[in-house]
């Protein structure tokens, strides 16, 4: 077990493409860090640099106290779980688990002991003599996990390990990975594009975009105080609603059209107002808040998802789409006008140009 220190790591490919543009993360011993971001944000590249499968263009990488920039993957004392499991198809499950130990010259008895222990933890004991192709997706996933834990490495690296599983198994394996990691206390770096996976697994989240860190923080922090409009829309489903506001003389306008009466203590002439779908309340169904956001929503569609419904609609002069997440099965006709409100402490403000979060002084009120 060890800490991992990522100092200003960069990756530039031969063609000049910059995949990782100076990322720094301090990972404490035993911490579960999830790297999350859309495709092409550099999260996998970063993980592969930590694993030693990609060379490091610039920056420093420490595992424990050791600078490992140029050390071979085998000598970094890490284990990796791949998206397609990467099991050795010609070997039995036992040999798949034992391979790494054999290569490191462990004694036969010790290998047997470790493999059986890992198999017991992962409940794959009865499949030890099978070949990977005789296993289901979930079982293969367990074997891949087993291959990582038999080695008892300093860190686990996970590269979207659950994305080949069906939805139900994914939820189950997610819980198991979390439980296992807590039991073993092994430092883990986990890559995913699934924000739900990221939220549920992480001690701390690292949101990446375009090869740069957008935000590092606990899942709840990231959810409640997104550092930018990118994080705001990436974390949370459905995504946070963003309303572009601009000041013209002394009037705030929504999307350069409808004038709205807003009191904001800011010098900025433009800003983006964010509000999560579940923080919007339909007045017809609930109480009205005195302060905060009040606006009229023109319904375009209602999506019932069981316990709740997503009400899609437009505000202003029909140019801004927003989603309201409301409990129960709701029925509204397209075209119907609803009044929606949000508490002032549920409103987020971002700089429209940079997309960065800004904290405003005083109360924010839009009428």
């Amino acid at each position: 077990m060890a800490s991992i220190q990522i100092n200003n790591l960069r990756k530039t490919y031969d063609g000049g493409v910059q995949a990782v543009k100076g990322v720094s993360i301090d990972i404490k011993d035993g911490e579960f860090i999830v790297l999350v971001g859309p495709s092409g944000c550099g999260k996998s590249t970063l993980l592969r640099m930590v694993a030693g499968l990609e060379t490091i263009t610039d920056g420093e990488l420490f595992i424990g106290d050791r600078l490992v920039n140029t050390i071979e993957p085998a000598d970094r004392d890490i284990a990796m779980v791949f998206q397609n499991y990467a099991l050795y198809p010609h070997m039995t499950v036992y040999n798949n688990l034992a391979y790494g130990l054999k290569n490191r010259g462990f004694a036969k008895a010790e290998i047997g002991k470790r493999v059986r222990k890992a198999a017991e933890i992962l409940e794959i004991g009865e499949y030890l003599e099978r070949k990977p192709r005789q296993l289901s997706g979930g079982q293969r996933q367990r074997v891949a996990m087993g291959r990582a834990i038999v080695r008892d490495p300093a860190a686990f690296l996970f590269d979207e390990p659950l994305s080949n599983l069906d939805a139900k198994l994914r939820v189950q394996m997610r819980l198991e990975i979390r439980k296992l990691q807590k039991e073993l206390g092994t430092t883990s770096l986990y890559v995913t594009h699934d924000q739900l996976e990221a939220m549920t697994l992480a001690d701390r989240l690292v949101v990446l975009s375009g090869g740069e860190v957008e935000q590092i923080g606990s899942p709840i922090d990231v959810y409640e105080k997104p550092a930018s409009t990118f994080v705001a829309t990436f974390i949370g489903s459905p995504a946070m609603n963003l309303l572009p506001l601009s000041k013209d003389d002394n009037n705030w306008k929504l999307d350069n059209s409808a004038v709205v009466d807003v009191k904001l203590s800011t010098d900025l002439a433009e800003l983006t107002l964010g509000v999560r779908p579940e923080d919007l309340v339909i007045e017809e169904l609930s109480e009205k808040f005195d302060t905060g956001l009040h606006t009229a929503l023109k319904v375009t569609a209602v999506e019932p998802v069981g316990a709740e419904s997503y009400v899609h609609g437009t505000i202003g002069e029909g140019s801004v789409d927003i989603v309201v997440r409301a409990p129960g099965k709701l029925h509204f006709e397209p075209g119907q006008i609803l009044k929606v409100t949000a508490k002032p402490d549920k409103l987020h403000t971002f700089d429209m140009l940079t997309g960065k979060r800004i904290e405003l002084q005083g109360t924010l009120e839009i009428a």
């Binding site: 030693g52 071979e72 085998a74 990467a86 198809p89 010609h90 391979y99 290569n103």
Partner: protein, 293 residues
């Protein structure tokens, strides 16, 4: 009720397969039939009169110790060619699989020998290894090896093995490389994280995973050594010295076209034909069905 789609009978499908069938008939079934027919005749080379003798030609062949030794020699030759060609192409493919830059150039250069006609390949080796003129023979002499494949039967055999294997390496290389590149990259990466160095990865992961290709190539290479090396042997040694490089195909040619023993030569062809059939069966039974791992 099972409903089937019925088409109007049409001549089009027959027309479409006709060229293939025609080629097979004219260039394979007809000559093969001729050989079968010839193999049960003894023909007088001078008068053209022939006599039907049942299996006497075969009987004579199997009683002939020379023929049996040619059989063994062919086995030895085929084994040596197949193993040499596969061994070197496997190593070259292993290298090519690992390089990132310039792999196209490397690959193209390696494939070139395949485009050279067997007789020309033979001629190249004749020049290079000629005991009096050849540059390689000269080089060998410098390091104390007295090279003369025109006198030394073992050296002659070595020479035809090298030439025949050299010609087959590009073919094997292509198949090995394709097989290696179809192994998921992550499996190799997993092995390198699991502490296996390049050589260990090759023998414990890559080699077992390409075993279906290896087996396929083994059959192909043996067939090649048996039947397609005539040109090389003809150009290099002409079966000599003292028949030391006369393999089955070459003997068919020598007995039939030089010795004018048409019946005996035909009988040998029939034996070769049954060998091809046997090898093809092996290939279909074991290779086409995926080798399990």
């Amino acid at each position: 009720m099972l409903k089937r789609v019925h088409f109007q009978p049409s001549v089009l499908p027959y027309l479409l397969v006709a060229p293939q069938i025609l080629v097979t008939l004219v260039f394979f079934l007809w000559p093969a039939g001729q050989a079968l027919y010839q193999s049960v005749l003894i023909e007088d080379a001078w008068t053209g009169n022939s006599e039907f003798v049942w299996f006497e030609n075969f009987q004579l062949l199997f009683e002939d110790t020379e023929y049996l030794s040619v059989f063994y020699r062919t086995g030895y030759f085929a084994g040596a060619v197949a193993l040499t060609a596969m061994f070197f192409s496997l190593i070259l493919a292993g290298f090519a699989d690992r390089i990132v830059k310039g792999s196209t150039i490397y690959r193209t250069l390696l494939i070139w020998p395949y485009a050279i006609a067997p007789v020309l390949a033979g001629a190249l080796f004749v020049f290079m290894f000629d005991p009096t003129l050849g540059i390689l023979a000269y080089g060998l002499k410098l390091i104390g090896i007295d090279w003369n494949h025109k006198l030394d039967g073992d050296q002659a055999m070595l020479l035809v093995v090298i030439a025949a294997a050299w010609k087959q390496i590009p073919y094997n290389f292509l198949f090995f490389l394709a097989a290696m590149q179809s192994i998921p990259k992550s499996v190799i990466e997993a092995a390198s994280i699991d502490g296996a160095g390049p050589i260990k990865r090759f023998w414990t992961i890559i080699f077992p995973l390409i075993s279906p290709t290896t087996f396929f190539l083994l059959v192909i290479n043996v067939v090649y050594a048996f039947f397609d090396t005539f040109g090389i042997i003809h150009a290099l040694t002409d079966g000599g010295p003292a028949n030391s490089t006369t393999v089955l195909v070459f003997k068919v040619f020598k007995d039939g076209f030089v010795g004018l023993d048409l019946g005996g030569s035909a009988a040998q062809s029939v034996i070769l034909m049954s060998l091809v059939i046997a090898l093809t069966v092996v290939q279909f039974r074991f290779v086409e069905r995926k080798v399990e791992y």
